[in-house]
Symmetry: T
Subunit: 154 residues, 12 copies
């Protein structure tokens, strides 16, 4: 049966492709998710994705993953640094989760250097633009396969 | 001509495979690097690697990459949190560099949450065990290819 | 006329009973609220309850309590530590409010030791699992009765 | 063509006029916005306004201003001090934005002295009650006119 | 056999009822403890209480509870914020302990917001005046009963 | 009788117009004050202004306002962040005072984010260049008029 | 009727005169108190004094001053910096209290610069050796006389 | 020959008696200094005093005390908390100096709890209104007499 | 004549051997002190020991060591981190003192990493269980012998 | 045409040579400036110098350097650590400025380790007594010459 | 078979005996290690020692102890406070390690009060000069013997 | 006999001239040291220099200066901010040492504002590019000459 991976996108990511395409690229979040879904299909993964600017809707979506998904990919965007609720939601699922960032948060303002969600995730990937999502997908698939085969990566 | 990528491994990583194989895996750093080199070859990348427990030797190796390498992968290990010298060395090369960690540093002691080297790197990947290196290699190759083709990922 | 008490439940509390029943108990939030309503009825109290993962919906519900409720019981969950908006909402109602926690927040991560909402509440109760709600109900009823009889507890 | 200015009102501001009119005045937010619209009309400005207690809905509204509005006036209320998401939303629009507060935040609790949104705004105005909005409107109109005439105020 | 619960009262609590009765109530600590003992009796609990202004005497009393009491209720008063010794004493007993405060410590000076003793207690109750003791008694009895019946509250 | 408003300008503001006119505008402080005086006259306000680089002279000038002025506008410039003496002087006058800044202090160095004077002012306005003074004048006049008519703005 | 002033001496002060007389003077605490009592007698003041190394005994002594003394002089010594209990005791008496130190605490280690007791005292005097007590006595007598005559010093 | 003591009064103290006499007393600084001079005369002390709102003028006056005065009394007012220059000036004179405050600085805002000048003074006296000056005079005279007689107080 | 060494044991140490013997060992503090006395006797040392849970009693005991003991061994337990009074008492004796801990305080909570007493001690030994006392005895005897022979260890 | 360099001396420097000549040397500031002027003349530099204890007068003097001087040497003394106004003044001139200190500020109190003025200076020199000025002069002349010849030192 | 204990000496310890013998003693590190080896021999312990100023060489030496040594004694000197790499190396060996210091680090600068290595050591001994090594040897031998006999000291 | 001055260059300085000559100048460290040696020869100084990226090798080189050099010039580069070992090494030599920086460290990242080595140096010079070395040489020669002639600069 196909692995089920849910991708969660946080606030302002819905604006991708709509603003300053010279800088952020011409691809909308929908297009990026579509491309990611192709890659996922090639890996035998069924991909679902969700975007919301509302912290609580992200919490709800993550909560619904219990018993439905095998793993999570999350780009919490601005909520990375402020949301204890997202942290609690991820922890509640007890699912492996990969935290993704488009930019390298360590190059930005001081308050973006800390992540409230990272400590409850498997690992983090950031700084590679939209390719960060591809890496996260591979990382999660690798982890789930190793776990299935009884030898978790460390 | 093949891309040249140098992999830099910091303190205590030479002990991999020698201690507690049940936990850290049976593969030594040499074996991991050999596997990574295979993957690199498949991607048309020429891989060099270096390990030292001595901060200054790591600084020297990185300095020698100027004009010789196309990009760097670094696992600064414990020096991530204490070495301004490594940060300066990476910045001096002006090469794209990916910071790699075996473990998820955000799950560990408070003093491991900050990285002195990350702000001068392209991006960071951590928490996926030895697979973190594979992801870093892919990320760096993707970045170099996009740069060569004139459209950097963001 | 019956006292009217509104119970406000914050993010992730909707997952109670759905996940890890061995740990969190088999009772869902609905069942807990039903039991609390029974206890309330015995005390001559009319109980309303509301759960949302969305900070702003909690703010709205609290705002509607002005002129409609005699007191509030709130379990702000993760928003305890981050929500100035909930604090302002509680303060705006000028109603007596009891802050409730299932767990003892002082036993958990450092960032959970501070409460933004507690300074605008009558008092706080935490660490007694679902029984915390029962204690909060009794505390609020006692307070309202003493206030009605002209001698507030201190 | 008329300037278009969008006014964004944050959490708990919907309660204005409903509670403690002796203190906060008898005017509801609707009435204040109506008065502001009159003033705007006199200045040849088309005014839109939006209030939400939900952080993510505010983020969405601001995101929709791209290409639709000439400038923003925002009273982030409690989210001033906690919302990186609002900050990112304002920055994403690249529109001139004026931050408004009814009260003087420097007279209040320590945690209200810092503003996460102010660094991405043109300027801030606070402490003048509902008149703060009028001043913000004038400031924004003046800024847009000077920019139009090629000499930005500083 | 009756549950044995020891109540420990810290510094300055002996002044209750003696000073400013209009504010703190006319009841002395003795009277409050007598009332609590009645309530305890009704619950089948044997209550002992002790007050001291001397930190070390409180430590000694708590130490004597090992093997003699089933649970503790403590109002550490000023020592809440300064006494590592009380914390160690409570932890040493390995008994369930409820921390009680007459006032809501979160409404008071910054240095009263942290509790050194709370992390080694079952839970905390504060802000309800003398009724805080009654709630603590109920909480502790409930906890001991559930533990006796094999299903601890959480 | 005309309202009397005193405008106080702090250190380095005497250099306005003398240095880098392309950036700071060609208008000297004298010219700006003259323009403001015109606006004031139109509002029926008698304006006095004073500039000094010397903290103590600013303190003296403010002290003389007792019994002579109806309100103050102050641009404390660098002293905003360091002068307890200016704060005490403003508080001593018990006059309504508006704090003005040419630039948005929240966009600048960390140490400029805090204001020692703002907590004793009516409100603050910053980021609108020389137009900040005009807004401050309007805000103060509005405040004095509402106070005269018995309904202070909030 | 004679004013009654109680003098409270904290930990280690009992060693005065016993150790290093070349440095601390040859006078024991008893001798100093005797001299102070003479001065008090000359001022028509009845002086009581108490020394203890035990924080709780100091708390008890202060508590007994309610209704018995007109004012307090306290040298809390090391407890100045650590005792919330002494602070609460002084506040509970609602008596005017003068805090005294033999040495200038601002010349000593950083942790001695803060005083937990000073905020609940009338004022503080420190750095004048045993003469600090004489000054405190005069200050307290002056304060009590002015209060008696209806014009408190400020 | 008469002792010469110079009294230095910092910013805003020139307003004493001019503002809010019901609160601060009807005496101007001149009157207070005149009364202090009388007391000084009775003690055989020649008193000089100086007030300035200008930090640098206070520094100059203190510098002139070298070789001219036997001791200093200083009320640095707001400069207590901000002036390294006053601290250096006092230290440069190598004269015994008593720091005086009208109010108890520990009862006020957090930033007033630290004194930059106190560490270079003999001692500090604060909280006794204008009587603080009288106590400072006595303390300084006592210190100078003991030093003259070869046995400094400690 | 025999060296005299006094051993001071702080709060909760009286519980050793009484609670959880499987963890803390079956030996009571009395038995440990008896064994230490034997070792002391073999070294020609006369040993006295004292335990109290009361900070002030420990201060008194230490004060009595002046002129009576040649050196001190202290296990301040919880007071290590909170007692300025113990620090002052040790410093007042001017005796060499060795600070002892059963556990390694650096492995425990953050607040246990700092020691208020260590800076006035000769040295510290911690982490070796009851054997820490034996090491402290040897260290102190060695120090006293070297001092007697005129060549202090460093 | 001769380079014009202005030397700015801050508070308390006017006391040099007047106090404790054994320590600070017998040379007054005037003599030091005279010697520096000789050295300057030898280098073809026209030197002006100014000393004031008044922060604002230093600000004014620096402001007047715009268009009149080629570079600045400043010894801000105590204002180094507290004056944002001096920092703003130096920055406003856009002139190269060398910060000088007689002593090594890193050897002194913690609060002297930070410099508010250094970030807007070319560089800093400290710890070499009066020779620090000579070094600063040479550094500034070298910088101005290299800039004139089109190759700035770095 | 003899216990094998490795002694690791950090930076600058090679200078012992070479500089200021009046202060640090005439013994070189070699002589001290020779004496320690004698003591070790008497205890049936085989001692190896290593000194390096290079952090990474210390890391390597410690790494080689895996499988070769029974325990470690380390004097990390300056690296105590800065080296996460040494900490990781010690932890990686999983060997009991005793941290030794010649001086009492709590008597020295603030930054020397924290130890990065102590949390991964068995215990620490400091302040007893060269005798600290003897105590460490005894402590380690005692620990290894108790562990061998199945009853670890605590 | 010629003065002997040793110049110590820290990590990454070996890259000077090799990278980005347009920015850092075309001169290699060797060329700079050669030029400095010429200047030294003219001053009658024998210059030795050493560069290493390895902290411990720098420590060793400095240690060898005892008895061999008259003074030190050190550019600790990145180790300025992290190396307690270098600080200890410099202090151990008891030689006058001048700290040099090419750039103005106060203009760079916050973590570069503090220097661990400066407190044990004579003074610091920074911000003047390679000319900083020349100034350091002059400062050190001046200091050694004044010390030789019995009048140290201050």
């Amino acid at each position: 049966m196909a692995m089920k991976i849910w991708v969660v996108n946080g606030p302002n990511l819905g604006l991708l492709g709509k603003r300053e395409p010279a800088i952020y690229g011409a691809a909308s979040l929908q297009e990026i998710m579509a491309l990611l879904a192709q890659r996922a299909a090639a890996l035998g993964v069924e991909l679902h994705n969700f975007q919301s600017d509302v912290e609580g809707e992200l919490v709800q979506y993550i909560g619904r993953a219990i018993g439905a998904a095998d793993g999570l990919i999350i780009n919490p965007a601005a909520y990375t640094h402020t949301s204890v609720a997202l942290r609690d939601a991820i922890a509640a699922t007890a699912l492996p989760c990969v935290e993704v960032h488009l930019s390298n948060i360590f190059k930005r303002e001081e308050f973006r250097h800390q992540s409230l969600t990272a400590p409850v995730c498997l690992g983090t990937i950031g700084g590679f633009g939209t390719f960060s999502y591809v890496l996260a997908l591979e990382a999660l698939v690798e982890h789930l396969r190793q776990r299935a085969s009884g030898c978790e990566s460390r």
